[in-house]
């Protein structure tokens, strides 16, 4: 079954076309790398898929629910990490996760165990009592991912989850994302190709608002070590 179905999705900001008639599908349980140069339309696509922003035209369905017609049903199935982790600096990590769990409608009796589950999964259990405002960048990112995992949504949309992290934190976050495969469908946006190579099986490359590649990792690299880089540079050239 397709977790995400996108048809002719277009978004215009006044006279600028951000994404232009995107059409693609993502199957359940996949980890998909969503690639493209800066400003290609990755974040715009993600904002539309998560229901933050409406499209100018076209259709998008998440787990079979149209994001424009049945936004609440679709949003129930999505965990989203925006480009900047959406934290309230004056709340503790636990207080923050509690708040998000309530917004997501996690049953009252399960909130505590759910917080422990996602905090355990992202390695932030020792930080639960700290204010989110004083956390290091790596921990802020993890709290952002923990927040997305609350309520165990079928689809996780992560917008540049490794941005601004040091190499060790990067590796840890990637391993975390990889461990989510199977149970969750993950869409991961980034412009760091080595990360994608390490964990994704499907690759979508977007350039100037258009899909320029949509294939399995093996088909895109052609088995070569530098295959993904070559393809990326070739496809996103002028």
């Amino acid at each position: 079954m397709a977790m995400i179905e996108v048809e002719n999705l277009t978004k215009k900001y006044r006279d600028r076309v951000a994404i232009d008639a995107l059409t693609f599908q993502i199957k359940e349980g996949e980890i998909v790398g969503f690639l493209g140069p800066n400003g290609a339309g990755k974040s715009t696509t993600m904002k539309i898929l998560t229901g933050f922003m409406p499209a100018t035209s076209g259709k998008a369905r998440v787990a079979g629910f149209d994001i424009f017609e049945k936004p609440l049903e679709a949003k129930r199935r999505i965990g989203y990490l925006p480009e900047t982790p959406p934290l309230y600096p004056e709340l503790t990590v636990r207080g923050y996760l509690h708040f998000v769990a309530e917004l997501k409608g996690v049953p009252r009796g399960k909130v505590k165990s759910e917080i422990d589950r996602v905090a355990g999964g992202t390695g932030i259990l020792p930080e639960l009592g700290r204010l989110t405002g004083v956390l290091s960048k790596g921990y802020r990112q993890r709290v952002g991912i923990a927040q997305a995992m609350l309520g165990n949504p079928a689809l996780l949309i992560l917008d540049e989850p490794t941005e601004g992290l040091d190499p060790r934190q990067r590796k840890e976050v990637l391993e975390l994302v990889k461990s989510l495969a199977g149970e969750h469908t993950v869409v991961l946006s980034t412009h760091i190709l080595s990360e994608v190579k390490a964990i994704c099986r499907q690759v979508l490359i977007i350039h100037r608002g258009k899909i320029v590649a949509d294939d399995s990792m093996a088909a895109i690299t052609g088995g070569k070590e530098t295959g993904l880089e070559d393809k990326f540079i070739q496809l996103t050239a002028e």
Binding site: Y80, P82, E90, L103
Partner: protein, 269 residues
């Protein structure tokens, strides 16, 4: 309901753990105590004069008659003053409501969780009302002090019904200010701009009653109707009046709905 309550709770925690709210509470406490002391001084002066003048109260002019008891002489004037103080401090509480969500990028979180925008707005507004109730809550100590240390021939020092109706008018006015401030906060990312514009709007509203007498009919009646001080006049004096309750509730509902439209509309740009 649960989500509205969750946002309400978060709003109160967020504000009460930052410095701003406490600064506002302190300013309210300082200003209102200063006015309280001044009014009390005036009251004492009037009482002393009444005791010395032959003929007592009946010999004094009509405008001095309000000083015959604490309710009219002190409390009603105090509520009238706090009304204006509220207008000055409310923008500093309402400015953060949406502007801060924008700045923290948490607005995206709110809009992508499975809740309706109206739940966000209602939760926020309830939080805002909670804050203004805390701010005005400080001032309830004044009638309590008066009822403990004051005395009168009729037994109780204060007419509590009058005092509480006036207090209700004050809360209604505070809640109205927060609704307007919330709408303005939803339009901008900058807290300072939000506070400044809310303040300007409140100031203009304050001017309406002074412009009204100079206007021609039918404009004059319209302005008189819109002026908040004339709307609140009766409630502050302790007369139960439905007109201001309907008026301010409508203003609140209007701005809550406007906020809802505003956050919906921003997703389209």
């Amino acid at each position: 309901m649960r989500t509205i309550f969750a946002i309400f709770k978060k709003e109160l925690t967020s504000h009460l753990t930052t410095l701003w709210a406490w600064v506002v509470f302190t300013v309210m406490a300082l200003l209102s105590s200063a006015f309280f002391v001044l009014l009390l001084g005036g009251f004492k002066q009037a009482q002393d004069i009444a005791r010395e003048v032959p003929g007592g109260w009946s010999a004094l002019p009509a405008e001095a008659q309000q000083f015959r008891n604490l309710t009219d002489g002190v409390m009603i004037s105090l509520w009238g003053t706090i009304l204006v103080v509220t207008l000055f401090v409310a923008p500093f509480l309402s400015m953060r409501l949406f502007a801060e969500e924008r700045r923290n990028k948490t607005f995206e979180l709110l809009m992508t969780t499975p809740i309706r925008p109206i739940e966000i707005v209602l939760g926020k507004y309830l939080g805002a009302v909670g804050l203004i109730v805390c701010t005005l809550g400080v001032t309830i100590v004044f009638p309590i002090i008066l009822s403990i240390i004051g005395s009168s021939e009729s037994g109780s020092a204060l007419e509590w019904r009058t005092v509480l109706l006036g207090y209700f008018g004050l809360l209604l006015w505070g809640a109205t200010n927060m609704a307007i401030g919330m709408f303005i906060s939803s339009l901008t990312e900058s807290q300072m701009v939000a506070a400044f514009v809310s303040f300007a709007v409140a100031l203009l509203w304050m001017l309406v009653s002074s412009v009204a007498p100079r206007a021609e009919e039918p404009l004059r009646s319209v302005l008189n109707y819109l002026a908040f001080d004339s709307q609140l006049q009766n409630l502050i004096k302790g007369v139960l009046d439905l007109k201001p309750i309907v008026f301010f509730t409508s203003v609140i509902a209007f701005f809550v709905l406007l906020t809802h439209r505003s956050i919906e509309a921003q997703r389209w740009t």
